[in-house]
């Protein structure tokens, strides 16, 4: 089955610690192929790293195997995480197990599809602008994007490091929360990690019994904000399905209130300026000298680097060039500085909203899963599909995508966003969505 959907780039096993107990003991986990695994090649879905074998494992991989989980393979992904469909992979597209003529979403498409196809109990993805939540929504599974700083990025191959977090994907909210319990927490190898219990003004942090204990379905008295901007322009079938799920939360005792987040109208632009700018810098390391593909070149080192880097796929080249342009002389203030202003505006908008509501609900994706090949030649159209997920990365917040139901036989995801380090509340609310 696995081969039909093209779920894995590399199917190799890393055994978990057999002498441990806990929720993940004996569980199988699929790991996105931009997360380093010692001795198992880590390609980032790119020809550039087709033969790269990391000499060390990411912190999250160590934590999972220490908790008794066994890695079953490295999952397919958009090249370097750059895409919304898993079609930009140098190893071919992954198919959506719900409908093999459709994309699984991206960029962690192989991870979400592996869970949906029953090939792994849990999977790890990375979410820079929605790359965990989008494929979770398209494949009908659960995906968590943690607060920036909750999960170590040590060993994650960087795309846009100020935006991205590693997050779990699973069939249920509780399962995903169990995986989050294992991978979360400070890491001396990632200076941006924080212990939520030590962050000022954060409430309630980690509940007793961990995040999994928060999946109790109790939303009585919870206030749910519904931002009009994240419903405008979405596919009607998606909106109907999500509204029905929100109505079910109301029936379970939650209160809903309409809110406005005017800044999010600029989130996609801000996200793509910041992400491509960071990518242009982060991907400068792929020069063929220390690791990765190296072209046979007769030229000098500038020519040799350029020829080596010809091996990037079109979407990666596009983003490196856009980022280089946005940072170049004369354009920095126009694009990069304004994008940082927009990022601050988005952060304040969410901050203000959370003064009145506990969580914010919206469609995860404004569209149903694309058909294979549908959006590949139209980058702007693909970027616009990230309208509801990118604001969360810009504001460094936790969010979850939980199945809201189906429309025309295709999965629809409900996104719940919470205040900084309040993973517990989004997990609790999501568990009520799946209970109905």
């Amino acid at each position: 089955m696995a081969a039909d959907y093209n779920l894995f780039i590399t199917e190799e096993t890393i055994e978990g610690d057999p002498d441990t107990s806990g929720p993940l003991a004996g569980a199988t986990v699929a790991v996105k192929d931009n997360i380093s695994t010692a001795g198992v090649r880590t390609t980032c879905g790119s020809e550039m790293l087709a033969d790269y074998v990391p000499p060390y494992s990411a912190t999250v991989v160590e934590r999972l195997t220490d908790a008794g989980a066994t890695v079953v393979g490295k999952t397919n992904m958009d090249e370097f995480g750059m895409g919304t469909t898993t079609e930009t992979s140098a190893f071919g597209p992954t198919r959506n197990p719900v409908d093999p003529e459709r994309v699984p979403g991206g960029s962690s498409g192989g991870s979400a599809a592996a869970v949906a196809a029953g090939e792994a109990d849990v999977a790890l993805g990375s979410d820079t602008g929605g790359s965990v939540r989008c494929p979770a929504a398209f494949c009908g599974v659960v995906g968590i994007k943690p607060t920036y700083g909750l999960v170590s990025r040590y060993g994650l191959v960087a795309y846009a490091n100020s935006l991205e977090q590693i997050g779990p994907i699973a069939g249920t909210v509780e399962r995903a929360a169990e995986a989050l319990d294992v991978i979360a927490g400070p890491d001396p190898n990632d200076g941006t990690t924080r212990d939520p219990r030590e962050v000022e003004g954060v409430n309630p942090g980690v509940p007793e019994g961990g995040y999994a204990a928060a999946a109790d379905g109790d939303v009585d008295g919870l206030t749910v904000g519904v931002p009009t901007e994240l419903f405008d322009g979405a596919d009607e079938r998606v909106v109907e399905t999500v509204e029905a799920a929100i109505a079910d939360l109301e029936a379970q005792g939650a209160e809903t209130t309409e809110i406005s987040l005017p800044s999010v109208e600029h989130a996609v632009q801000a996200y793509y300026v910041i992400a491509t700018s960071e990518a242009s810098s982060n991907l400068a390391r792929f020069d063929g000298v220390r690791y990765g593909h190296r072209a046979d070149s007769e030229g000098n080192w500038n020519e040799s680097f350029a020829e080596t880097r010809e091996a990037f796929g079109a979407e990666v080249k596009r983003r490196i060039l856009l980022g280089t342009y946005a940072l170049s002389a004369g354009y920095h203030d126009k694009y990069y500085r304004k994008a940082q202003d927009a990022r601050e505006w988005v952060r304040r908008d969410f901050d203000d909203a959370f003064a009145d509501v506990d969580v914010i609900a919206s469609p995860t994706m404004p569209v149903l899963p694309f058909e294979l090949g549908e959006s590949l030649d139209d980058p702007l159209r693909m970027y616009l599909a990230d309208a509801n997920t990118t604001p969360v990365n810009l504001a460094n917040l936790p969010a979850i995508s939980v199945p809201a139901g189906e429309a025309d036989g295709l999965p629809v995801g409900l996104q719940l966003v919470g205040p900084k380090f309040d993973e517990a509340t989004v997990i609790r609310a999501a568990s009520a969505v799946e209970d109905r």
Binding site: D51, P55, H266, A284, A306, S328, E344, R347, R348, L380
Partner: protein
């Protein structure tokens, strides 16, 4: 700058992108483009950058979030061995990475 890739024809300060500009940025980024990519990128960039124009409407804001430096003692720890560090290099010599010729 040319008007040919300026889809709304507004000209002025709008950043139209032509093939020469894409080639220039590709050279800055040390990325060789494949046949046909340059022209395709010029069209796509014009469309994407026009969309980015909306950032002009964003108010000027000062960062409010308080950031703290994370420091640690500078202590010697075990790292990768030389063999491990070189294990993925295309070319090595006497325990060093070997890069392309400088000129």
């Amino acid at each position: 700058m040319t008007d040919t890739s300026d889809p709304d024809g507004s000209g002025g300060d709008d950043p139209a992108v032509d093939v020469a500009e894409v080639e220039h940025v590709a050279e800055l980024a040390r990325v060789r483009l494949a046949e046909g990519e340059t022209a395709a990128f010029a069209d796509q960039f014009a469309e994407i950058l026009e969309y980015f124009e909306a950032l002009d409407e964003v108010p000027d804001l000062d960062r409010e979030e308080d950031l703290v430096n994370v420091m640690r003692e500078d202590e010697i720890e075990e790292g990768l061995t030389q063999e491990e560090a070189l294990s993925n290099a295309a070319e090595t010599e006497d325990g060093f990475f070997k890069g392309p010729k400088v000129s």
